[in-house]
């Protein structure tokens, strides 16, 4: 297996969506290819960092305000619908 072939399968490998035979080929490649091993580990870490450090949390005060606006507008649209 070449490095480019390894890269093609990287996403499925990380997601565990891969057949046992392809998986063992990839692992065989990893055994001797240090560069691909680094790419695999650091890609895994990239995913974890973004998953664990959720950016853009909605502040609670803003959340309450948005909720009020949404429900008020829904009420308005509901009365328009029923008055048809």
């Amino acid at each position: 297996m070449k490095c480019t072939e390894f890269l093609k399968e990287l996403t499925d490998y990380l997601d565990g969506a891969i057949s046992p035979s392809v998986k063992s080929e990839l692992e065989e490649h990893l055994h001797w290819c240090h560069d691909c091993e680094v790419v695999l580990n650091t890609t895994q870490k990239t995913i974890e960092i973004y998953r664990d450090n959720k950016l853009y949390e909605l502040p609670e005060t803003l959340r309450v305000r948005l909720h009020e606006i949404i429900i008020t507008k829904c009420k308005g649209s509901h009365s328009k619908k029923t008055s048809k």
């Binding site: 790419v39 960092i49 606006i69 009420k75």
Partner: protein
């Protein structure tokens, strides 16, 4: 087993709430808003990079969903349907702000070279600890903002929000292979850009 049961309850619950909301039960709809508003805000911010736009997207997506509830057939999950509405709203906002009016989720930039790993130095064992929380947040934001909108949207839905490839494809109106291809390139490009901050420096100094 417990997790599976919990998930089944959530789905039933969501359907019950949607059915009630369809009959005009605003309290039921309010529960749906509370359940998903944080996710919609996060997705919208990732696409638009603008807090004001993201707030608008949250409002408009829920309002649109409410007004079109009768058209929601229940073939997919309500959340899948809602995210699809929100992504479209967010892309519209982005188009309005950018001189480039062609922003689209279908945008499949040919970046074979950009996705080929060039940086193969190992990362520091705990890269997150190299930076303070707010500095790390800035690095992560800056890095993901550099991706084309189609790539970062797929990455956010799959890897940040934890949705399946199939759900992501349905939300974005893309094929499963198209989602996989974008996800691979998004992951590799983010990795390449983060390496600059997280790699082990030669000489044993891991500080950037």
């Amino acid at each position: 087993m417990e997790a599976i049961q919990q998930k089944a309850e959530d789905i039933v619950d969501e359907l019950t709430l949607v059915q009630a909301a369809k009959k005009g039960d605003l309290e039921a709809f309010s529960q749906l808003v509370k359940r998903y508003d944080r996710n919609i805000f996060r997705i919208a911010q990732h696409i638009t990079h603008n807090e004001e736009d993201a707030q608008d997207v949250v409002q408009e997506a829920f309002l649109k969903a409410y007004r079109n509830l009768q058209q929601f057939q229940g073939n997919s999950k309500f959340y899948t349907w809602l995210v699809r509405i929100a992504v479209n709203e967010a892309l519209m906002k982005l188009r309005r702000r950018r001189a480039d009016k062609t922003v689209s989720i279908d945008e499949d930039v040919e970046t074979e070279d950009g996705s080929m790993p060039r940086e193969v130095a190992d990362w520091s064992p705990n890269p997150e600890q190299l930076y303070g929380q707010s500095e790390l947040g800035d690095i992560l934001k800056k890095t993901i903002q550099g991706l084309p909108p189609g790539f970062r949207t797929v990455f956010v839905l799959r890897d940040v929000e934890g949705l399946s490839t199939e759900e992501t494809a349905e939300m974005l109106g893309l094929s499963v292979p198209a989602v996989k291809s974008r996800l691979l390139r998004a992951r590799l490009q983010l990795r390449e850009r983060l390496a600059k901050y997280f790699k082990v420096k030669r000489g044993g100094d891991s500080q950037p």
